[in-house]
């Protein structure tokens, strides 16, 4: 049997692991803990091996055509959706990232969570997440993608609220789920529009038709948009929720209430990038809706800079990383919106490695600090936990864009594409954000690992390097943070830009049908390219240097700026009051309105009119009752009058 034929096992195994651990958790609470680890890490491990084998076979196959595997179908009326998987270059990249990074985070979790009472439950959720994420990326149609899409949302809800006996984490989980659902609503509408037009949701049936007849998508559809524009907008709103873009990014920082490996896996490496994946997957539609593409890019750029600016003043180590994630996702959308789909996926891949590494590193620090997350109470950890320090520093260097590391190549690719399409304003934002990124990440490194320890005495005694189950994943991911960029070295630097060419079959080619598309990608002079490259390196280096100057000696040099611009500092510190604005503007009025509907409308008007009717009936009855005098002679009179009436009726 070929490994490719076992593709269905890739998502099925983690789901089975989740079911098994879940059942044991409910019905055999005293089961040995080792079984939880064995199932919880083993199933995703085997799933990764199958995935790697399938990828290997796919890449070395004689026939490079996309591989599809159909399990069964949903059919209603004339509408049929296969439950089927697809392996093509894009899903190969995603599959590798998700299974590989996912597996190592599972390994890490076995160490990080080992003292938690909900150990087995944790693995059940985490495996379920893996299964759902794999469904999302392996789907060959939008419906199965949506199944995975909501599935990861559910797991995110459960894992953010993992510490359910406190009040904040479940609330954060609920917020994540609901905000995601707002996006899902638009995603659904987009799917309905597609299905209504094409009668199917399968990629391989829609996209070739789109490429074959692009004019059909350029007709006016709704909201003043073309069909392509409408679908693209709906899908992007879906992506806004999942990938935390303005205005739906508010859930991601709160999601840090979950265990740290969860933040690494779900809220950095995999789930939050699903939106980017979806946009790239539907690139055939986005290419036909340039106005929405620009919108995507603008939202991405603004999210990048907004989140980075908030990240500047955060003191919680995980919050810094959370805003950093939002910001980096903004970068990816910047690229995707401008049509640089491969650059977006490239950054998605490198980001998965270095951001997972950074989160796991922060987890290692938090583990050692006994749960403390405030960087003001850390400092000088460099000498207590060298492996964590070096890997964390490497991750920081990668995200800051130090030449040669992963983030340098992918971020440069994005900035290059921004400039190449002539969006200099967005380029400036991207460049500035790169500097901010370098600054806040180095600030975090400095506050955590440099200077003197600022925590309590007890904590200092307790400081230790993490066990090998946690440090090995750090080392593996650090290798990825260094090397994953090498697959996409641009031609300017003597590379072959292998990654771009590998993914190009997935990008719809309209050059035959719409010649103006081909002309858009203007060639740039090599000297300009060099200038851009130097500018982006410089931005990173300035950020790094300035952060070291302010924080390098264990002081909070940023306080100077806070004093100089107190209003700005308050604005950033309160995250632009976005949560508060949503609360006042949407949640509370809606709550008041609902209560009015219930008490004022349902109880008073609707039910009140019913009660009024009942009351009127009762009143009539009370009145009629008075005629029952109990006196025979009055009855006789009624009788007499009745007879008279009858006579009148007959004789009139």
């Amino acid at each position: 049997m070929r490994p490719l034929d076992l593709l269905w096992l890739v998502p099925a195994l983690p789901i089975a692991g989740a079911a098994l651990n879940g059942l044991i958790c409910l019905f055999w609470p005293k089961a040995p803990k080792a079984t939880a680890t064995l199932i919880g890490v083993g199933f995703p491990g085997v799933s990764m091996l199958v995935a790697l084998a399938a990828i290997w076979q796919y890449l070395h196959g004689t026939n490079p055509a996309p591989f599809e595997q159909t399990l069964w179908s949903w059919t209603a009326g004339t509408f049929s959706i296969p439950i089927a998987f697809l392996l093509d270059p894009l899903s190969v990249v995603m599959l590798f990232i998700v299974t590989f990074v996912g597996f190592w985070i599972h390994v890490y979790s076995a160490g990080y969570m080992s003292h938690e009472p909900g150990y087995r439950r944790y693995f059940a959720y985490l495996n379920l997440f893996m299964g759902a994420m794999l469904l999302l990326i392996l789907a060959n149609n939008f419906l199965v993608m949506f199944v995975g899409w909501e599935g990861v949302g559910l797991c995110s809800y459960l894992l953010i609220g993992f510490y359910f006996d406190q009040s904040f984490p479940p609330q954060a989980g609920r917020k994540a789920f609901i905000v995601n659902r707002i996006g899902d609503f638009a995603f659904l509408v987009g799917m309905f529009a597609l299905a209504a037009k094409y009668g199917t949701l399968t990629y391989s049936k829609i996209f070739p038709v789109v490429v074959g007849a692009p004019e059909a998508l350029k007709e006016h559809y709704a909201l003043g948009l073309t069909f392509a524009g409408f679908v693209a907008l709906c899908f992007f709103i879906g992506a806004m929720g999942k990938s935390a873009q303005i205005p739906l990014y508010v859930w991601l920082p709160d999601a840090m209430a979950g265990p740290t490996p969860v933040s690494a896996l779900i809220h950095a490496a995999t789930m939050v990038t699903a939106g980017v994946y979806m946009v790239v997957r539907s690139n055939a539609i986005y290419q036909l809706a340039p106005e929405i593409g620009t919108f995507v890019a603008v939202i991405g750029a603004f999210t990048a800079i907004l989140a980075a600016s908030i990240g500047l003043v955060q003191n919680d180590i995980k919050k810094v990383l959370a805003y950093s994630t939002v910001s980096q996702l903004g970068y990816m959308f910047l690229a995707a919106g401008l049509g640089a789909y491969t650059a977006a996926v490239f950054h998605l891949g490198t980001h998965a490695f270095f951001k997972a590494l950074l989160f796991l590193g922060s987890g290692s620090v938090i583990h050692s600090m006994g749960g403390e997350q405030d960087m003001r109470k850390m400092g000088g950890l460099r000498k207590y936990m060298p492996i964590t320090f070096w890997t964390f520093a490497l991750g920081t260097a990668a995200i800051a864009g130090v030449p040669g590391l992963a983030g340098f190549f992918s971020k440069d690719e994005i900035l290059h594409n921004t400039a190449a399409t002539g969006h200099w304003g967005l380029f400036a934002i991207g460049l500035f954000t790169a500097g901010l990124t370098a600054f806040y990440m180095v600030r975090a490194v400095a506050m955590t690992f440099f200077g003197k320890f600022r925590g309590t005495h007890d904590q200092e005694h307790h400081l230790h390097e993490s066990p090998w189950v946690m440090t090995v994943p750090l080392l593996v991911l650090a290798a990825g943070a260094v090397g994953s960029g090498w697959v996409g070295i641009p031609e300017l630097l003597g590379g072959g830009n292998t990654f771009h060419h590998f993914l190009s079959p997935v990008i719809a080619d309209f050059s035959n049908r719409l010649p103006e598309h081909a002309a858009e990608q203007a060639e740039m002079a090599a000297s300009t390219e060099w200038l851009l490259l130097i500018a982006s390196v410089l931005a990173g280096l300035i950020g790094i240097g300035y952060a070291f100057k302010l924080y390098g000696r264990g002081e909070f040099g940023g306080a100077v700026w806070a004093k100089r611009f107190p209003a700005v500092y308050r604005l950033l510190d309160h995250k632009y009051w976005v949560d508060e604005i949503y609360d006042r503007l949407i949640i509370r009025p809606l709550g008041a309105f609902s209560r009015f509907l219930w008490k004022g409308f349902d109880d008073t008007i609707v039910d009140g009119s019913v009660r009024a009717l009942a009351w009127a009936t009762e009143l009539t009855a009370e009145g009629g009752r008075l005629s029952t005098t109990g006196n025979v002679r009055s009855y006789a009179l009624y009788f007499f009058l009745g007879v008279l009436g009858l006579f009148w009726w007959i004789l009139r």
């Binding site: 009326g77 809800y157 359910f164 799917m191 309905f192 209560r595 609707v606 019913v610």
Partner: protein
């Protein structure tokens, strides 16, 4: 010649319908003080009935294909061999039961919920177990009869038969304001159904005028082509009766009260089946009988369905009583079903029918769970809960699971139905569908609030610290529902296939008639509107003829 007794003793729909009613008689022989014997008897009868129902369907349905239209008596006596037995001959009223792909899933759901109701009431119901059993058995007879009736008079009779046991269930075994709730339920339902009776009589009189003979038969009355103005009035009468049952805004206010006061079993059947009779009525009677009026009323009813979806969701969100929250959620969910029906689209209709079953399963499970919590704590107020996940993990698992099914999480049943409804409606009712889709967001809002207020957060109340987790009995009650939630969610095809041919022919007939202009005078269509399916000549009906 076939007689009623033959039908009752044969493998027929009649036996399915009347077995529960007949099973009430031995209850009199059971010892009065021995509730346990009654419980066991009730459970056995309901299981037997379920087994008979499954056997009936399994013997006549090839998996993967459509479920045929089957009649107890396909060719009765009389001019032209009309189906059924003559009952009140002078007025052409015939006892005619039939099952097809539309009524079959709902009937099986009814039979499935019955043993679950008895299991779930095992501890919660303390008094009058014999009457309790009898009420539910009679209710089952009424529901099945209404689902199978192919004669409008017989339908009306069973429709009213359902009413009384439910009235008693709420009024006798209910909560504190049970009498108020029971009377309200009774009056609302009765008000609507009386108007429907008038409309049924009107149809029969018109038929008599045109055809010269009396008939209340569904297939005969379908041949009536009425002027638009008449259609509108008659449709309004039918629609009101069904809308109250669904319930649609603004005639929904009986539902929260009825649910809050009803005992657990009553709520399960009420939400699981009785509400579906409303939507079933639209699908089976109101729309096919009055196609032009349906099309004319579509915008209004869509508006009401949308209001129901959004309004039910918002009001559910601010409830402080767990059961009331679930009750309002029913209004929102049934709004989706109505939207699907009003789209007059095959995908949407299939989705709507699936969603009727789904809502019975997942909301049924939610009511069971609320009842189980009530049995333990004797309250349903959110204030009294919080942090229960730490004490009763198995209960929490089930609550989360059922809630997610109700939220419409993909890979669980609710999603399959909602998705198909919205997908089908989008083509004809685009903007309404978009608005309804937003209801999906609100569903997450109020149902996750319920989870948060009961299961999550710190465990503060002292009384909650020693709660007992679910017993095996309770888990057995939930298990079939849980299995169905996953099964329907993953492979809805199995559940969609049987109903497809029936819905398809109903819909194509509907569209054919709706595009013709309505006549100025009542007219009779030449051909039977629904040709009696060739597959009606099954062994059963042939047996019937042979005797």
């Amino acid at each position: 010649m076939t007689t009623f007794l033959d039908l009752l003793l044969g493998d027929t729909l009649t036996r399915l319908v009347f077995l529960p009613a007949a099973a009430c008689l031995p209850l009199l022989l059971l010892p009065k003080g021995n509730a346990k014997a009654t419980k066991i008897y009730a459970l056995l009868v309901s299981l037997l009935e379920l087994g008979l129902g499954i056997a009936y369907v399994a013997a006549r349905w090839v998996p993967g294909g459509g479920f045929p239209l089957l009649r107890d008596v396909a060719h009765g006596t009389g001019v032209g061999n009309p189906p059924g037995l003559s009952w009140i001959g002078a007025y052409g009223i015939r006892y005619d039961l039939a099952i097809d792909g539309i009524s079959m899933p709902l009937a099986l759901l009814t039979l499935l919920l019955l043993p679950i109701v008895f299991l779930a009431s095992w501890k919660g119901i303390e008094k009058h177990w014999r009457s309790f059993t009898a009420a539910f058995l009679l209710l089952t007879t009424g529901i099945l009869g209404a689902l199978f009736a192919y004669d409008l008079f017989v339908f009306y009779m069973f429709w009213e038969v359902m009413l009384i046991p439910m009235y008693l269930i709420i009024g006798i075994w209910g909560g504190e304001r049970r009498v108020y709730a029971a009377v309200k339920f009774f009056l609302f339902t009765m008000a609507g159904s009386l108007l429907m009776l008038v409309a049924i009589l009107w149809l029969a009189f018109t038929y008599k005028e045109l055809a010269g003979v009396w008939s209340f038969a569904y297939q005969d009355l379908l041949r009536l082509d009425l002027p638009l103005s008449t259609q509108v009035w008659l449709f309004a009468a039918f629609a009101l009766a069904f809308a109250i049952k669904v319930p649609m805004f603004p005639v929904h206010t009986w539902l929260p009260d009825a649910h809050v006061e009803a005992p657990t079993g009553g709520s399960v059947i009420l939400a699981g089946i009785l509400l579906k009779l409303g939507t079933y009525g639209f699908l089976r009677f109101a729309m096919p009988l009055f196609p032009h009026a349906s099309v004319k009323a579509q915008p209004w009813l869509v508006g009401l369905a949308l209001i129901g979806i959004l309004y039910g969701a918002l009001v559910a969100w601010v409830q402080v009583d767990m059961k009331k929250l679930v009750a309002y959620s029913s209004i929102a969910h049934l709004g989706f079903v109505m939207l699907g029906l009003l789209a007059f689209d095959l995908v949407a209709w299939q989705g709507a029918l699936l969603q009727m079953v789904n809502h019975g399963i997942s909301t049924g499970a939610l009511f069971l769970l609320v009842g189980m919590l009530y049995d333990r704590r004797h309250t349903k107020k959110f204030d009294e809960f919080g942090g229960l996940a730490a004490v009763i993990p198995i209960f929490s698992f089930w609550l989360v699971f059922s809630t997610l099914a109700s939220v419409g999480l993909p890979a669980l049943n609710g999603f399959a139905g909602e998705f198909l409804i919205l997908l089908g409606s989008f083509r004809t009712l685009s903007w309404a569908t978009v608005a309804a889709t937003f209801g999906v967001v609100l569903a997450a809002v109020y149902l996750l609030k319920m989870l948060y207020l009961t299961l999550w957060g710190p465990l503060t109340k002292e009384e909650n610290k020693s709660l007992k987790d679910l017993s095996w009995r309770e888990m057995f009650a939930l298990l079939p529902l849980g299995v169905l939630m996953v099964w329907i969610g993953i492979a809805p095809g199995t559940f969609l296939a049987p109903s497809r041919p029936a819905l398809e022919s109903l819909l194509s007939e509907f569209h054919t008639r709706a595009v013709e202009t309505a006549p100025d005078e009542p007219m009779l269509r030449a051909l039977p509107a629904l040709a009696i399916d060739a597959s009606a000549d099954t062994p059963t009906s042939q047996d019937g003829e042979g005797r």
